[in-house]
Structures are given as C-alpha cells and as structure tokens.
C-alpha cells in the first residue's frame, strides 16, 4: 500500500492507509473476476473508435500569453514557476 502511495505521489495519513487497505482489498476482489475469462486470443481495446493518427500542419498559432499561463500559479518567479528545492 505504501509503495503504491509513493508511486501515486500521495502522502497518506496512517488512518487513510488503514482504511484504503480494507477498501481496495474489497474492490480488487470484485473487479478481479475479469481473471475468470480466457482471453488469450482476444485483442485489447484502448480506444472505442476505429480512427488512426490525426496530423496537423506544423504552423505557428496564437497561444496563451505568459500572464495567462501564470495566472493560476501558486508561485511565479519572472517567467518561471517557483517550487521548493528539488534536492
């Protein structure tokens, strides 16, 4: 559970870990029945429409202004997003 929480980048409190452990066990039991089916010969579906890649012309277009880009930022430093130290 803690490993998955780290992968998901969630700092879960102890009581949350306990609750989620029980809940996820029950949910995995319920959804795990997909294993009953022998699907070795069935291809997977990742997209419901039969479409292929869509290409756009590589032409410059108007985009957001920098002020718009930073409008919702918790911390701005010039033209950069400021964050706490990474190391």
């Amino acid at each position: 559970m803690l490993h998955v929480a780290r992968l998901a980048r969630l700092a879960l409190a102890d009581d949350e870990v306990e609750r989620l452990t029980d809940e996820l066990a029950a949910i995995l039991d319920a959804v795990g029945i997909v294993a009953e089916l022998d699907l070795a010969a069935v291809p997977p579906t990742s997209h419901p429409l039969d479409v292929v890649n869509v290409w756009d012309d590589d032409e410059p277009r108007e985009s957001l202004s920098l002020d718009d880009v930073f409008a919702n930022a918790p911390a701005r430093d010039g033209d950069l997003f400021r964050v706490p130290p990474t190391v």
Binding site: L10, G32, A35
Partner: protein, 498 residues
Amino acid sequence: MTPLVDTLRLTAEEALGLVERREVSPGELHAAYLEAIGERDGELHAYLRTAEISDGASIPIALKDVISTKGVETTAGSRILESYVPVFDATVAARCKAAGLTLLGKTNTDEFAMGSSTENSAWGPSRNPWDPERVPGGSGGGTSAAVSAGLAPWGLGSDTGGSIKQPSALCGNVGLRPTYGSVSRYGVVAFASSLDQIGPVAKTVRDVALLYSIIAGRDASDSTTVELPEPVALPETDRLDGLRIAVPTQLESLDAIEPGVRAAFELTLGLARELGAEVGECDLPTSYRYGMPCYYLIAPAEASSNLARYDGVRYGPRADAPTYDEMVERTRDDGFGPEPKRRIMLGTYALSAGYYDAFYGQAQKVRTLLIREHREALERFDVIATPTSPTVAFPVGDKAADPLAMYACDLLTIPSCLAGLPGLSIPCGLSDGLPVGLQLLGPQFGENLLFRTGHALEQAIGFDTVPVRWREGSDPLGLTPADDEGSDPTGLTPEDTP
C-alpha cells in the same frame, strides 16, 4: 408590463420561442432563472456558483463544473482546484457562447466526476428536486437537479460510465451520452480519457437534440473528435413502425433492478409495441457480469494518469513543504477527497509492474468482448432498451460509506460506455413517486435514431417533468395528458404565479 416567466415548466424550445418572438428579452429570461435559483437552490445546491449576466442573444445554460469557463471559477468539485479560474473556454463552452447562450452558472458534481450521487463533491451534495432527502444521482447531479427544478432550461454534463444518463433518470429529465468522439473534450477536466464524453441534459428529447447540434462535431483541439456522418435532425415523428427494439435477456435475472423500475420499463415496452415497434430479445452475456469490473479497472487506471497533473506547481492550492517531493505529496493528500484517492490508488496498482497484464490488460480485452456483443445485438436490432438505473433516487447517505454499493449504481449504463455507443435516457414513469429512466442504446453515431425513438416514446408516455411537490394538482402517476388544462408550458399566465 414585464411578462412573468415561470421557469419550472419551460422547455428550452419554448424559451427560444419567447426570445425569438421578442416576448421576453434574453436578459429578462436570464434574470427569471436567477430568481428561480434564488428561490429553490438553497435547498437543492445544484449550483456551485452563478455567473454574472453576460451578453447573449439567446437563452441561458448551466454547465457542469468540469467544463472550463474563461473567467469563471472551475473546480471539478475538488479542493485541489479551489479558486482555479480558467484563462480559456472549453470548446463546448465556446460553442454555446457562439450560439448566443448565456452562462447561468456552474453545477455541482462528484469530485472529478467520480461518483453516482454528488455526495463526493468537496462542496457538499446536491439534493433531488423530487425529494430533497434523496440524491439527484451523479456525477452530474447538479445539472440534472437544475433542469428538473427549472433552474436552467438545459445544461451540459460529462459522462464516463453513466454521469449524464443516471442523474437524468433519477431527476426525471432527458440526458444524452453521445458517441465517443462526437463532442470535443478540449478544456474539460479529464477523468478517463478513453471514456469521457460531454452531453446535453434537458426536459425534452428535442431540446437535447438541439443542444447536441450546437456542441457536436470535429474540433481541431481534440484529435479524437470526428465530423458527424449526418447532420442532427430534430425528431418529429410519433410512430415507431418497423423499429426493432432489443431487450437483453440478462435483465430478467438482475436482482439489483427494483420491481417498480421493472414495472415502468415493461409498461414502456408495451407503449413501444403500440407505436409499431417490434420488441425482441438480445444476449449480452459479458456486459452485466464483467462490465462493472472492467470499468473499475480501466477508468481508475486512466484517472491515476490524468490526475498526476495536480502537483501544486502550475495551478491550484499548494501545501507548504521544505522540498519539492514533499510539497507534491502533501498538496495531493490535502487536495484530493476520499474517492479520487481510492481511484488513484486502485488505478496505480492496476497499472504497476507485475499487475498490469492481470488487471488493466485483461480489462482492455474484456472491453473488446463488450464491443463485439453489442455489435452483434445491433446487427439484428436497431436499438437496445434497458432501465437506465436499477433503482430510483436513494436517500442521501445510503451508499456513501460503501464504495462497491455506489459503483453498482452504474451497472446498466457502463457496458455501452465501454463499447463507445451513444445512450439516451428518457423519463418513463414513476415508482414510489420518484422518476424511472429508460435507457436507449444505438450504434455509433446513431444519435438521430435515438432522438426519433425517444421522442415518439416521450409523446406516448406523457411524463410530467415537474416534480410532484411543485405541481398545483397532485398527479401521482406522473402521466399528465398532453392537453392537460392545468399545464401552462409558457408560464405566461400571470394568475399562475405565486
């Protein structure tokens, strides 16, 4: 003298008529809805916020709070987007604006559209206009409650596994989940990208078709969209001659379907026969046993990936922490409520090394089976009919502590979503005084067929979309004849107003 508009009964088409005939100005109409919101939304909490009156030549609309609206806060029902004000419009919001529609406000939703009751909203649940002790369904309970209570002539929702159809059923209005790829998702807060679709909610099938015609079609900003193969046609016919309707044999053994829901569904099939339709049986063996498990692997897996973007760097609140990693983990822990956390954890697990093939990979193969069995049924029949929801609206709090009970609400709506098929829910009667929804499923891009079928049935059913407690005369069956003297579609009779 300024005409008085009673919004409770007014359809979007009637509202458009009032504006076109200049009996009411767009501003007066908008103000009438704001007044109704002031009167009735304290109890219902359909809206998270109303917008300032904007210029527009047409009628107003409500948008679910997952749809980005330039300059109007958009939270997706989550604290992690608190105070987030989009700097651009979602394509669907822009198309509504271009059609002259004015934004009434943003409607409540389960957090990130994850839920079937709106109880997962970080801002508190919405209430069902038919009985405020009960949920309006979800995740789009806010839009459906608003339409049902006359707080908007129509609105947009988003549907991943039933979030338009199920609340429409529980609130007694009409909702369309369009074919995947027919409506742009650009600027809509993403939940599960291979399933999310935007769609209309209104009081009538014609209103839904009209709103669908405004939002549908290819958008260069969403590469999964395509041009509609045929233009949207507003339904006119009241007959169903020659239409082949399939009922899945599996419905009979589903104990989850309440007797009252079953009874209303059977009555509606009888009406379809009277209108000239043939009703037969089809087989969807995988859908109702493996559809829900398949969905609760695929949707959380995609959600865990989509929700990785909420990291406190570019928008949203940020938790104080000495390092970047701790800041991200605490921001996400503070910002996400229990249901998104559950789904992020479930999805991350289903995608993690060693489990991918057994869970996510297997679910993608089940999805192929679902597509195949729906295709086979729709080769022999024109539409598939089921109840939309196995139950009527349930009491607030009833399922909130049991995630699996909540997930089971979407038992009947999920399979066709996985198959990428359009679905229309129309009200088909009452059970214990609460609305029952009929779900009509068609082939990809078969919306016009669903509109024709739904419209003909709607005329025959004659469902009164106004909640019983707000009608002047009691009508417990909800089957008001079309020529009922007591109904006043335009609401323009001054003596009818309180």
